[in-house]
Point group: C2
Chain length 304, copies 2
Amino acid sequence: MRMVVTGGAGFVGRHVAAAVLEAGHECTVFDAARIQRELGDRGVRQEFGSLSSIEELRRAFRGADVVLHLAGVGDVYLAAEKPWLAAEANVLGSANVAEACLAECVGRLIYASTWEVYGHPVYEPLDEQHPTNPDHPYNVTKLAGEQLLMTYDSLRGLSVVALRLGTAYGTGMRANSVFSVFITRALRGEAITVSGDGRQHRQFTHAADIGRAFVAAATSAIRHEALNIVADETVTIRQLAEMVVAEAPAPLSFGVARAGDISPARVSSAKASAMLGWEPRVRFSEGLHDLIEHHRSSITADGS
Amino acid sequence: MRMVVTGGAGFVGRHVAAAVLEAGHECTVFDAARIQRELGDRGVRQEFGSLSSIEELRRAFRGADVVLHLAGVGDVYLAAEKPWLAAEANVLGSANVAEACLAECVGRLIYASTWEVYGHPVYEPLDEQHPTNPDHPYNVTKLAGEQLLMTYDSLRGLSVVALRLGTAYGTGMRANSVFSVFITRALRGEAITVSGDGRQHRQFTHAADIGRAFVAAATSAIRHEALNIVADETVTIRQLAEMVVAEAPAPLSFGVARAGDISPARVSSAKASAMLGWEPRVRFSEGLHDLIEHHRSSITADGS
């Protein structure tokens, strides 16, 4: 199949593009930023463009079978600082993507949503029936993008699946992610400071597993569904820090909680398992080890 | 107090502006369209501008105590046709309004949301604890605007109240509203066609009662709350049609249901009653009678 990955130069998007190639499909990336050289070498086509331009989206989507839509504001701190930008990219941008799909007769769209749409849990584990109570410009706008795309499914005939992704980790993470901060500091022998008491937990989900979920959703027949794509393993921030310093020895301390951090909650991906046969394959200890080694080799390569 | 009504040249907005004056407050209307002459004569100041311009919003908000934000895409058929426009006006536009409030030190914002944010009812009557499951570009974008503004309350210190309005009626309704269509046709002696079997019901809420709710919310101390503002009386579309032809005799028939129509559900405004002391004052039979007479006199005045 011919698949287009919007935001395919970004952290999760590049893993999705890699998964598309691995599954034997053609891949075009739509992004304002240049894709990794490695993806280009493997035959990924790049289309530069912005979510605000229907024309640029249409050019990238021409002849495609399915669009995997990951572009948008994915950085919660940026969303908090500029809510209007999150609204423009995540809501208006998603409408533009859907319009471009319809204009180019692309019948199927897979949307990158987030487990954070649920907000404060009424019950756990969170399944897809749980009420949505987003409480931050990031999850408010991601949910609005999801719900708006679902109306393109019910009213306009575009077949849409939303994947509510767990907190992703893997190579290429943003420099302000807790992983990047911890690993970079530890590899320099600098102290790691954990926000709060470190007992807040996450089901960190490897970006390669997320990539496989997108491909599974793209090639399935389901539509008008939202699916949690979240790994089962629960890891506290304290455990993460301890695992990092076990591989890259550094002092560890505990500070104050950051405003805007999302409270932890258990999430179930049983629906994705049943409907897509999706299961996470990367164990957290392995994924983290690979990430630390990747950082170590980049530092060596940089000579920094 | 000095109050600004965004969208104050629109149908509900002009009733809100009138309620602001009636309660003895200063009123500025921010709208791209010109306000009614009657409002101008009563001392309402007009500021022309667009929701996409922070500068124009700031100029209108300068020196105000509270902003009553009704501007946006309120026509469900327009929202269905142009979801990106609904996203731009209702989500991005609301973020711009909040930013302009913060920039001009306006501490309080009352937002026009809708009872339609609940979607398909899980239980009835719908109270504000009911899960939100919007299913149309109109209610998706109105909810996103509400949720985004609530993050300005929790993260940025702007005090926000959202009023989830019932289906409004009153003078100045859009020509494509069921009221306008029925009354205009009946007064011409033309047949009225009811969509579906006419058993779908609404708790039609008079725009003057909505105006009073905005003033009550603006002058109250509550914040970070969503309140249903919906009249208690339930009226079926069939009853509405029969009440119209009772005053303006015309034939009555039944057709097919319109796509995109929102399913009926009972809504409770007990929270607004408790927190704001708000109660609807206009009985439906009186409000409808006034509306028919208003149409009748306009037709006579036009000579049409």
